[in-house]
């Protein structure tokens, strides 16, 4: 995964970058499976490795395959390094992954896990949380997807004025 990420950062052949980035997505999907999150892995494999790779390829066929050589840009490098340092410093305070005493396991998660069987009556807790307990949020997500699609349609393909084609 690290190798693919480094390749993506340094290669100038954008076609290869898109392909390797797809492989990166697939690898992270594998990582999610290892961490017992098959639902997330499913999404990553379908969206990250599948559809977004395709959209990038289509975009590339419009824009051209190779990256223009740019000069050394120190400001972006500095910003990236500082942000990385801050994030790494932040992770030092993170609780241990998977520890049962973590705050995230103490809030509403136990209740969902223990009672969704009786309250919702379906075995997949992820689905019952997404569609029922957090129904409002999911509705928001759907509206976001719809609005994004609408925006793209309006921008690049949609309404043609009279006389256009």
């Amino acid at each position: 995964m690290l190798i693919t990420a480094i390749f993506v950062a340094f290669s100038r052949d954008l076609m290869a970058v898109v392909m390797v980035f797809g492989a990166y997505s697939l690898l992270s999907a594998g990582m999610f499976v290892v961490m017992d999150a098959p639902d997330v892995a499913f999404t990553e494999a379908a969206v990250g490795a599948g559809v977004s790779t395709l959209l990038m390829l289509i975009a590339l066929s419009k824009t051209g395959r190779f990256e223009r050589r740019a000069g050394r840009q120190w400001l972006p490098l500095g910003i990236t390094l500082v942000t990385t340092a801050v994030l790494v410093y932040g992770t030092l305070d993170m609780p241990k992954v998977g520890h049962p005493e973590n705050p995230v396991h103490q809030h509403v998660a136990p209740r969902y896990l223990e009672e969704s069987g009786q309250e919702i009556g379906i075995p997949n807790v992820v689905t019952s949380v997404l569609a029922s307990y957090r129904g409002f949020d999911t509705f928001g997500e759907v509206v976001v997807v719809f609005t994004a699609g609408l925006g793209v349609w309006l921008l690049i393909g949609g309404i043609r004025r009279k006389g256009d084609r």
């Binding site: 959209l55 309250e119 379906i122 569609a131 029922s132 129904g135 509206v143 349609w153």
Partner: protein
Amino acid sequence: MHDSLILRVVAKFLIPVIVLFGLYVVFHGKLGPGGAFQAGVILASALIVHMLVFGVDETRRVAPPRVLRALAAIGVLLYGGTGLASFAFGANYLDYNVLGSAPTAGQYLGILLVELGVCITVSSTMALLALLFAERVRA
């Protein structure tokens, strides 16, 4: 675009399988991993394979953008409508308990409708995006 017999035959065989798998993921989302978002993407990918193999014009004929746009809106309305339906039974918005004879039956129905709505919206939006991009490239 190249016209490859092998691609056409394989795609003809593959597209129904992809669609079937997508539907399986929607309706199986309650039991195993998966759910409406993933299923929507899988269904859209079936259409995208169709577009890659048979060309944009053929796909426009099968799934006109007008229909895809309408479907995207219908999915959102189905989700919102399920929420409104629970008003009719005197409960809060998106409270599915009242939709069935027992709370769990209501939840089952509510989640199914909501997931269907999500799936319809996601799949048609994704397919619409791919179609628009492809047209743009060709133009």
